[in-house]
Symmetry: C2
Subunit: 594 residues, 2 copies
Amino acid sequence: MQARVMYDFAAEPGNNELTVNEGEIITITNPNVGGGWLEGKNSKGEQGLVPTDYVEILPNDGKDPFSCGNSVADQAFLDSLSASTAQANSSSANSNNQVGGGSDPWSAWNAPRSGNWDSSDAWGTRTDGAGAQRNSSANNWDTGFGHPQAYQGPVLTPSPWNHGCFPPRSSSLGFMNFIWQAEAGEAGSRASSAVYASTFLMNRFPGFAKPGMEQYLLAKQLAKPKEKIPIIVGDYGPMWVYPTSTFDCVVADPRKGSKMYGLKSYIEYQLTPTNTNRSVNHRYKHFDWLYERLLVKFGSAIPIPSLPDKQVTGRFEEEFIKMRMERLQAWMTRMCRHPVVSESEVFQQFLNFRDEKAGEWKTGKRKAEKDELVGVMIFSTMEPEAPDLDLIEIEQKCDAVGKFTKAMDDGVKELLTVGQEHWKRCTGPLPKEYQKIGKALQSLAAVFSSSGYQGETDLNNAITEAGKTYEEIASLVAEQPKKDLHFLMECNHEYKGFLGCFPDIIGAHKGAIEKVKESDKLVATSKITPQDKQTMVKRVGTMSYALQAEMNHFHSNRIYDYNSVIRLYLEQQVQFYETIAEKLRQALGRFPVM
Amino acid sequence: MQARVMYDFAAEPGNNELTVNEGEIITITNPNVGGGWLEGKNSKGEQGLVPTDYVEILPNDGKDPFSCGNSVADQAFLDSLSASTAQANSSSANSNNQVGGGSDPWSAWNAPRSGNWDSSDAWGTRTDGAGAQRNSSANNWDTGFGHPQAYQGPVLTPSPWNHGCFPPRSSSLGFMNFIWQAEAGEAGSRASSAVYASTFLMNRFPGFAKPGMEQYLLAKQLAKPKEKIPIIVGDYGPMWVYPTSTFDCVVADPRKGSKMYGLKSYIEYQLTPTNTNRSVNHRYKHFDWLYERLLVKFGSAIPIPSLPDKQVTGRFEEEFIKMRMERLQAWMTRMCRHPVVSESEVFQQFLNFRDEKAGEWKTGKRKAEKDELVGVMIFSTMEPEAPDLDLIEIEQKCDAVGKFTKAMDDGVKELLTVGQEHWKRCTGPLPKEYQKIGKALQSLAAVFSSSGYQGETDLNNAITEAGKTYEEIASLVAEQPKKDLHFLMECNHEYKGFLGCFPDIIGAHKGAIEKVKESDKLVATSKITPQDKQTMVKRVGTMSYALQAEMNHFHSNRIYDYNSVIRLYLEQQVQFYETIAEKLRQALGRFPVM
């Protein structure tokens, strides 16, 4: 069996991988070694592992290549997606390729800005999604380890939306993931059309290819699901119901494991929910699976931030593992804090399955993948204990959320950009300069000491010490961002991830509103009854309550997080400047008084 | 009368000057309007003032141009200099042009470094000479006004040694100054030859063209001058005798004056010696005259730092005038502090002449210009009350001074370079970044305020205030260098000026030592007697005592100055960091505790 390489892949040294280049034909020696890898041999006879998604299997006649792992049925499904797209908006369908042209999902809602295309505006992808936060009661954030390259993100991190960077190399989930990625690529072009974005948004969830917005809005009778997500109206308006006891989950102890008799190695993390205190182990790909299930299930109602980037090269570098764990921790804490997500079966099952070998994990996994209460159908589980809303109010609420999240997205990005700049300066040129000042003072003291003149020892010692003090200040300056700016950046990074989910959420709502507006025509042509329309308004009202509940959750978290992180930042900065002042005062005290 | 323009000259707007370009022929309408200016007319008929030194008068036959103000006799003198140069070292004579090839006067003493030619190593010129110091009891340093471009010096200030920058545009002293400049240009190439540098150094003082090193060392009997410069031996070795009462001189009140019925304007400074408290007024050109007289008279024994640069363009800009006054003040204070210089007739006359109109100033000026106790003859006024030194000791002392001053020159330049870099960062990118942080925080607070969520007013106000605090920090950062780095830079700048004088001083000493060493041959051929040689050793011994006395003066000043300026720097830095810490603490205090 032969395959054509679709994307360049650079082997990780010592990891039994095979470097292949786009267009190269390789012979598949083992089509499915598992975990999204196949074993292949190149023309030079070199053998090794290659990601399944990076190649397309060549049929025996050498024509009509289809993607590896992509069955004929799957292909038909993809075709149908394209057809739907074409139906909805022919212009976006025409650009329906993997590399999206305009990457700002906000552009649809914010036309005046859409001309200012900016590569850093590509968000909501897995590369810049999950951030971190430090306000968890049980995490290891306070260790404050560093990662000088961490804030290349907003500008430099490759994103699937950007030319040449697709597909992300993190795929190891086979078909499902492939579909997600294909859809993600499509979303890039989709973003230019609000209509498409709203109407066909749900198509991006493979498990939801059939039950679309129409099904939720127009179903005569929604099946009464066992699952119920209550919404109540509290002092601040609609809100989720918070569980009486909350928990967090400690992500710790990253360990290198191996599979296939040592052929493939990976990192496994220990997860310990604070309520059970019983640990389970998960690989990154399990997190990725969970992320995807949460996105599929709750993504129309709740922002599910992406996981930290799954870096392929340097996967086992200590710094990277620490950084990823820190961000996985933040992601887990964020999920645990959410009253709907944390109580969901899929999430609970992820944290609390008992025995992987006995198949409990796999059973749960399969069950979750069959869940039909996904996409907009999640709203069918919600029964707000509140009066019905009229469409004008629904639209106003939706617009307000769109406006706020867009504005906050801008604000967060502004802070990230300036923070990144500041990080670079504080860890690069600035300490170098203090070091140079320190060295220059010490050099001068050394010269002075060679004068042979009596009675200047005190001065020269003092100048030397002042020089050393500036060298210490250099270190303080270089280390400081890890103590304060790091957390400010991670918090904003995380919020950037959240905010990147809103265009889809708002898109779903706008789509639903649009459908209701269009329904007058359907009533007129007797395709639906006025009662059907009433039902639609009620259901869009449910969506609006969900959006408001989620926004109230979002705001209360935001207020808490920003208060905490800016306080921390200022506290650390005060300490920083005081430490420097104190060191300089000591240096000053060594100078003789003449 | 016609003249060819030798160097580009850009007219100062509103100052009756004429812009001319190199190679242009102008008609001289008034060859001597005074003050180093002539009046000319260009081919377009435009008329205006041009510096005399910038043109060469064309003879009637159009050939053999000679420099304006340079008589046939002067030319002969210049020729004789070239001849002497040729005699001493033919290679340096060959490169005896105005633009020196190697500009590091130290290279002769420090062969291993001479390959590292560096344009910033050109010093001891009028462009980077005088600095400033703040330890004067009666000056206006504490006002701490700024001059962001002041520290372009070490790298960017044009220097006569550099190609294309000669002559400096500051010349307004006519012939004497022209000679000085020509000699300065010559010194550039001279520096490559220690022998030339030492033996013929004194030729650069026009008033000392005849009495050279031989005359001082070999005169049977030195004329007993009325002027006496005592050297005694104190606890720290040889020293000048310090006057019982010292004085400073306040340079203040720069006023625009005009001459030639308003044709030319200039700045006049009020000088008030603290001992007499009677003011005199002097223009920059008078300072320049004084500088030159002091250099001619004391330059072989005492470093006379150059005056601050006389900038032509923007001469009347307030900033520049302030800066120049500050540096003139520093220069005057430095001269007042020197026991030999401050007591000299020429210096006293400069500060204390009574009536310009009655001609007292001009009389004194003429008298000073006729002084024959200049160049190495200054040593004939010195009678050290100390035992004779042997030649080995003399040579060791001289080498030690050479080594120290070279090392300190390097150290000072290192500090100036890093200080300049730091200045730029602190006044440029760093405050901009703090401003951006401040703005980003305020933007975010503005977005948050638009959320419509209740109960976050306190947080948003606190974030806004934190943002404003960072804007205040931006200002603090940008203003700080004027409060501390400025003085550190000026002090080092001034010492760079001092240190730039040492190659000549050491050159004179090495030349004298060389002469004594060569004298054995003269004794052997009976050209001089052994007694003559003894006299030579004694006289070189006197030079050595003078050098040691000067070094002790230098060191005690250096210790005082650096102690003061680094203390000041650290004090200001402590205050700076404490102020920031306090501001941040206040900002922190505004955040609600959750």
